[in-house]
């Protein structure tokens, strides 16, 4: 049986203005038809009435890690990373994100490929969760693991090895490849940050870095793209952004220190920037509570203004920006990332909404072909908001209903504050 979703105000995520009095006909979880109510007179379908508030596409978080366990003591007490705990945390976090209106995600790096395991459990048990594109474990260069607990990366050396590893990893079920392109080799990070703080803003990075070569990155992208998968690159300093873009990656994660040449490369390659502002902002504003040494917070503050102004410049130049939270800290929320694009970067609410929806679809690769907008053939994934996000972006956190595949997937209890990471303890 088809489902007819009736709406009053609908923003379809293509950039078109809001529609009024439109409906969506859903067949097999996909949008079969979308248009004015009159087009659906006499349609035989179960009706979902969402005629209050504003309908937007389900949100995309293209950089998250559901299965992280943040209590080092818990993991260390076992002298062993606890995969059962990762799976349980993953299921909880996934449900929370769905409650926040996130209907599709990219899990960008998880030890032991536990995200791929989580995806199979979610599917098998039909658990409430966003759609998940999984990167499994990360790939980095020999020497890219910097401490004993850095068990989530595998090291390669040379393009041939990179190619072999990529094929094997795709064979394990990965939907994308996460490259840890640059690694800081400083033993004492606080000391490195202190040295960086002493330099003027435009001075070259004072750290010692190791990185993948452009040939290694190219080999990975070549193999991934053959099978419709994408490549996400974790990069830190400016040189890393350029390296990864020249290697052909699909997304740059964090990419905190842009310059004009980087922007030019983004435009040439069509790559997407996933700035993960909220994790940096959270560390900057909650540094004490998180127990970070003061130099971390000081460094983050110092960088923040230039980061957001370069991000604005990139957006104005036409660089595609997508939302990714890197939500690895209890207390973070998906909404923060979208709101920072408006409040800190200065994007128009529509552009922030597009970053939260349409712009992330390409980053998901094959898995994203049907995500991000409300158009025929796309997933019937949408969110009912109790207010117009184009008038005030903060309305995105006022969620009434989350629909996934044409079914009501979550009706958040707005009074309870559900939607915080770690809410279940």
């Amino acid at each position: 049986m088809d489902t007819l979703i009736r709406t009053s105000t609908l923003i379809d995520g293509t950039g078109a203005p809001a529609r009024h009095g439109w409906s969506l006909l859903v067949r097999d979880g996909l949008i079969h038809q979308i248009g004015p109510d009159a087009d659906f007179a006499g349609a035989e379908a179960a009706v979902i009435d969402l005629t209050t508030g504003v309908i937007v596409p389900g949100f995309l978080d293209v950089h998250t890690h559901f299965c992280y366990i943040h209590e080092a003591g818990f993991q260390q007490s076992a002298q062993h990373p606890n995969r059962a705990a990762m799976l349980l945390a993953g299921a909880d976090n996934a449900a929370e994100w769905l409650h926040q209106g996130v209907t599709s995600t990219r899990l960008v790096g998880t030890p032991f490929d536990m995200d791929i395991e989580l995806r199979s459990v979610v599917r098998g048990e039909k658990l409430p969760a966003p759609r998940m594109a999984c990167a499994g474990r990360m790939m980095t260069m020999v020497g890219g693991r910097r401490n004993a607990w850095d068990f989530m990366k595998e090291e390669i050396n040379g393009a041939d090895e990179a190619r072999r590893w990529t094929r094997a990893h795709l064979g394990r079920g990965a939907d994308l490849v996460k490259l840890y392109c640059t690694t800081l080799l400083e033993e004492n990070v606080a000391d490195y940050l202190a040295r960086a703080l002493a330099l003027p803003d435009d001075a070259p990075d004072p750290g010692r870095w190791s990185s993948l070569t452009v040939e290694e990155i190219r080999a990975v992208c070549d193999e991934a793209h053959k099978v419709g998968r994408t490549v996400a690159a974790h990069v830190a300093p400016t040189f890393g952004i350029k390296l990864a873009l020249r290697g052909g990656v699909d997304t740059i994660e964090h990419g905190t220190v842009l310059d004009d040449e980087c922007i030019e490369l983004f435009l040439q390659t069509g790559a997407t920037l996933v700035p993960t502002l909220s994790v940096m902002h959270y560390q900057m504003t909650h540094g004490d509570a998180l127990g970070l040494p003061p130099v971390f917070t000081e460094f983050a503050r110092r960088r923040w203004d230039s980061q957001v102004s370069m991000l604005r410049r990139a957006a104005d130049a036409g660089v595609k920006i997508a939302t990714g939270t890197d939500a690895i800290i209890d207390g973070m929320q998906y909404y923060d990332e979208v709101e920072l694009l408006v409040d800190a970067v200065g994007l128009a609410p529509m552009d922030a909404l597009l970053a939260a929806t349409r712009n992330g679809a390409g980053a998901l690769g094959m898995a994203g072909e049907k995500a991000g907008t409300l158009e025929p053939g796309k997933f019937a994934d949408l969110v009912q908001l109790n207010g117009d996000p184009l008038a005030d972006i903060h309305h995105i956190r006022d969620i009434m209903t989350v629909v996934q595949g044409g079914r009501v997937a979550a009706v958040p209890d707005r009074a309870s504050g559900r939607g915080h990471r770690g809410h279940h303890g």
Partner: protein, 396 residues
């Protein structure tokens, strides 16, 4: 100073000397542990009371044979990967706890699953009984195909046995589980039990027992054939499960060496009831259903002084300890002995000095609250009103 008092119509306190039923008394708890009994009328006003006025309270149940890796999930799917096993085990752990099991000793799980689960329970990330991990159960070389999701390790020879036992202990096993003899194939005829089995020798098992003893751990053996039972007795394991090939001649030896017997009766009973529809090969169903300890031997064993303990050893939805208790009762054990099998005796078969399984000062505040007095109605063990685990009340 105790912070909480549990009140009930009666507390069934099973001591080695006999059965005490505490009426008109309250059980004091402090920091999740038992602080002792006190007359209800002497309770201070300010103490927090948890009252079950019409119900009976007994120590939390102990399952000596929990199979986290093989549990069939709520949707009926059989797990294939670590993640699927972990998710199915999450459901099972919750059900076991709700049915009154506050301690469950694992029979092993692939890739350290039972260890991971045990730590999740301790860190309160998982609702379930305290899990005693075994990590990899040990089988004779050649028997690994037996069950992949057990995560079995193959062992051959005394040196190998020593190495593997040392490794398990280092990796955090709280007891060691061995399969003393393993069928080469499922055979429908239960009287074929002594043939076609790969089996450990007594010196291999003795080496494992010695290494475990040095680390303060016990060894539990699943043994099928009469010969394998002989080998386990010689090696001096602490407890033995299944034991289908048990005979009169074994009984005095078991009693003398203090080897507890877990007949795993619910397994056969449940499989007979569920039949081949549960997803097992038909040959396996008829074999397992037909194989059990001779019913008359169990009572004889008990009377000869052998400790009988509860272990479910089932991969099914509800082959639970209550069912095991009922089967023990049907085999002739009195209600008090059935309760001992499910609490104190089982606890003492898991650790040299347990701190759970009885109402003893300083021990874990684990209890099951039942509507009917299980000393009068053994089936009342399965009618759980509430469960208290480490002082925390969980509704059944």
């Amino acid at each position: 100073m105790a912070e909480t008092a549990v009140l009930a119509a009666g507390f069934i306190d099973l001591t080695p000397e006999g059965v005490n039923i505490h009426c008109g008394e309250a059980l004091l708890l402090d920091g999740g542990r038992i602080a002792g009994f006190v007359a209800e009328r002497d309770l201070p006003d300010e103490i927090t009371r948890i009252a079950f006025p019409d119900a009976f309270c007994l120590p939390g149940l102990v399952d000596t044979a929990f199979l986290p890796g093989l549990i069939v999930s709520e949707t009926g799917a059989r797990p294939e990967t670590y993640g699927q096993s972990a998710w199915a085990a999450k459901g099972a752990a919750d059900r076991w706890l709700s049915s009154g099991v506050t301690t469950a000793a694992s029979m092993g799980g692939a890739e350290r699953l039972d260890f991971d689960l045990s730590r999740c329970v301790l860190a309160r990330k998982l609702s379930g009984p305290r899990i005693v991990p075994a990590l990899s159960p040990l089988v004779p070389t050649g028997a690994a195909k037996f069950h992949r999701l057990y995560g079995v390790r193959e062992v051959s020879g005394r040196d190998d046995a020593r190495r593997v036992a040392r490794e398990l202990i280092k990796q955090g096993a709280d007891r060691i589980v061995v399969y003393a003899d393993v069928p080469l194939e499922f055979h429908p005829d239960p009287f074929e039990t002594s043939r076609h089995r790969l089996a450990f020798s007594a010196d291999e098992l003795a080496e494992i027992v010695m290494q475990a003893a040095q680390a303060g751990l016990f060894v539990h053996a699943q043994a099928i054939s009469s010969k394998a039972i002989d080998v386990c007795i010689t090696a001096g394991v602490r407890s033995m499960g299944c034991a289908f090939g048990l005979s009169e001649a074994h009984l005095p030896l078991l009693a003398q060496k203090g080897i507890a017997l877990a007949p795993n009766l619910a397994l056969g009973a449940t499989i007979s009831e569920l039949g081949p529809g549960a997803g097992f090969p038909a040959g396996a169903v008829s074999m397992v259903a037909a194989q059990r300890i001779r019913p008359d031997l169990l009572l004889q064993a008990h009377e000869a002084g052998v400790q009988i303990i509860c272990g479910t050893n089932t991969a099914f939805l509800a082959g639970d300890v209550a069912r095991e208790c009922l089967e023990l009762h049907r085999a002739g054990l009195g209600p008090a002995d059935v309760l001992r099998a499910a609490t104190g005796h089982a606890a003492h078969a898991l650790r040299p000095s347990p701190d759970f399984g009885a109402f003893r000062r300083g021990w874990a505040a684990d209890m099951v609250i039942t509507r009917r007095n299980p000393l009068e109605h053994v089936e009342g063990i399965g009618e759980v009103h509430a469960v208290v685990s480490g002082g925390e009340v969980i509704r059944g």
